[in-house]
């Protein structure tokens, strides 16, 4: 690998964050500021999918479940249980984490398409419950739940849009850093081994079921945190937070960005969300653009944008020649030396 490659990648990221920090100073349209604020939270959610589906290779199609569990928990704990916002927020993340641990427990003995099918079924079941259940009914037929969702009790009123923008950006940076740190830890390395070859990992002593549960738990914790941020920003938990569309969106944005890279999926999610929403395209055109982006990526860049960039950097590094100091065995000695 060339020495300048990580530095260049870090430089691009720093430049991107710098631009995003300065963006509100250009007096942008309030709608586009809102699009970006939502985009930061969805980018963090997509990166959290990558912890499960990319790093650990457990392709989940129900990742909206912990996200929605957190938005609903925040709304219900604040509105119905009357908890203060910070307490409800922490509990909401814990509930999402517990939901992820439960999904992991169910999915750990499965592999490949069976994980996808199980998570799809769980996600859809949760969505149907949210759509069909009225959590609180009041006089005159007023109800909280169903498609309309539940309002979140926020401790602030009419917060300036810049505050939400910068808070969401800070959350995206911090959560992505946390997920990257996890992916580069010993546990992350083992998860990548489990994703690459479960049988070899098991033959190397890895209890793969335990590590799959870990991936679902950690990924769901970050998804739950993103859900809390999202519900706080839009002020409501709705059935859409648990929708299959949201789960599929995370999976496909991660594929475009580069599965297993964390930053790639986050950047792709932010860029594509900003593009699709910011262009104010009609829904049909948006779907076509979305499908075309996905098809081009999967056909020509199967590793996604970040995966392809990494591959190019590795090729350039090989062309430059080996920098590795060579160690030669003394003639006549066995390769093993001593056991």
């Amino acid at each position: 690998m060339l020495r300048w490659v990580p530095a260049a990648r870090g430089g691009w990221l720093a430049a991107g964050i710098g631009l995003l920090l300065l963006f509100p100073l250009s007096s942008p349209d309030a709608y586009f500021l809102d699009v970006l604020t939502t985009g930061f939270l969805l980018a963090a959610f997509t990166a959290s999918w990558d912890v499960v589906g990319g790093i650990a290779g457990q392709v989940t199609l129900g990742h909206a479940l912990p996200f929605g569990a957190a938005t609903y928990a925040l709304a219900l704990l604040g509105r119905i249980a009357g908890m203060p916002f910070p307490v409800a927020a922490v509990l909401a993340v814990l509930i999402a984490t517990a939901a992820g641990a439960g999904i992991g427990w169910l999915a750990a003995p499965l592999s490949g398409p069976f994980v996808a099918l199980l998570t799809l079924a769980l996600g859809e079941a949760a969505h149907e419950v949210a759509v069909g259940h009225a959590f609180l009914t009041g006089p005159g037929g007023y109800a909280w739940g169903g498609e309309g969702g539940i309002p979140v009790a926020l401790p602030w009123r009419d917060a300036p849009p810049f505050a939400a923008y910068y808070a969401s950006l800070a959350f995206l940076c911090l959560s992505t850093w946390g997920m990257l740190a996890f992916s580069r830890s010993g546990g992350g390395l083992i998860l990548r081994a489990v994703a690459g070859s479960p049988v070899t990992a098991q033959a190397s002593g890895v209890p793969i079921g335990r590590y799959k549960r870990l991936a679902f738990t950690v990924g769901s914790a970050f998804a739950g945190a993103a859900g809390v941020g999202f519900a706080s920003h839009v002020g409501r938990a709705t059935a859409g937070d648990l929708s299959l569309e949201l789960s599929f969106q995370a999976a496909t944005f991660a594929a475009v960005g580069g599965r297993g890279t964390v930053i790639g999926p986050a950047v792709a999610a932010l860029a594509l969300h900003a593009l699709f929403q910011g262009l104010s395209l009609p829904p049909a055109a948006r779907v076509l653009l979305y499908a075309a982006t996905l098809m081009v990526t999967l056909r020509f860049f199967p590793g996604g944008v970040a995966g392809t960039a990494r591959e190019i950097a590795a090729r350039l590094g090989r062309r430059e020649g080996p920098r590795i100091p060579r160690r030669r065995r003394e003639p006549g000695t066995p390769p093993g030396g001593s056991a």
Binding site: M1, S185, A195, G196, A203, S204, G205, P335
Partner: protein
């Protein structure tokens, strides 16, 4: 003396076809044992059952006097039963160094995955002749290097018993010579017992003190070399 590994009456069927039919064998600590037999005699199935990749339909397996019949592959590795695969299944995105680190950290269960394990990783990689490839992704390794990596991975837990399934097939003479020397060194100096599955009679005679002949899912005979 208690056998290191004692398998008693192991039976295994697939879709009604009996592949192992009451295999009984024992391996002493530090003993190099060969397993020979025609194609379809059940050698790989026996390796899978002894290593914990498959569970038997009948019979028991004891390791150091402890019943391990229902322990999975990873738990047996942590106890000291390591195995290599006839066809390696490498981690595509991990480098050689990272693949060995996984085995050292998860397998041994007591050594850290961080830099503290660096010297041990480097030693294993050097011993298996992979030092120059240590930063190469496993997906780009040749068959010879993949077999060497299998050895490094298996040796990472300092195994008491190593089960080697056709590990030398399709290898160059150089690779085979290096790996045989490594196996002998692990046996002689580390006291690692092994069960070497091979179609090569000469190799088995040269490396094992006892060779078992498997035929139609049974140990038909054994010969002391």
């Amino acid at each position: 003396m208690t056998a290191l590994l004692a398998a008693n009456g192991i039976a295994k069927s697939f879709d009604g076809t009996r592949v192992l039919d009451g295999v009984t064998l024992s391996i002493a600590a530090g003993e190099p044992v060969g397993l020979f037999g025609p194609n379809g005699s059940g050698k790989t199935t026996l390796a899978n059952v002894l290593s914990g990749l498959l569970f038997p339909d009948a019979g028991t397996i004891a390791f150091e006097g402890r019943d391990v019949t229902w322990l999975p592959l990873d738990a047996r590795y942590r106890l000291g039963i390591a195995r290599t695969f006839q066809i390696p299944h490498p981690y595509p995105s991990l480098t050689v160094q990272e693949a060995v680190r996984v085995a050292l950290s998860a397998g041994a269960g007591k050594r850290p995955a961080g830099e503290g394990a660096g010297e041990e990783i480097e030693e294993l990689i050097s011993r298996t002749g992979l030092f120059d490839q240590r930063f190469v992704p496993c997906a780009r390794l040749s068959q010879g290097c993949l077999r060497r990596l299998e050895f490094a991975r298996a040796l990472a837990c300092r195994p008491k018993l190593l089960i080697l399934d056709e590990v030398f097939s399709s290898l160059s003479t150089v690779d085979e010579g290096d790996l045989v020397a490594l196996l002998r060194a692990a046996n002689r100096e580390g006291g690692t017992a092994f069960l070497l599955i091979s179609h090569n009679r000469m190799l088995l005679k040269g490396t094992c003190s006892r060779v078992l002949y498997l035929e139609e899912g049974r140990v038909a005979r054994e010969r002391t070399v």
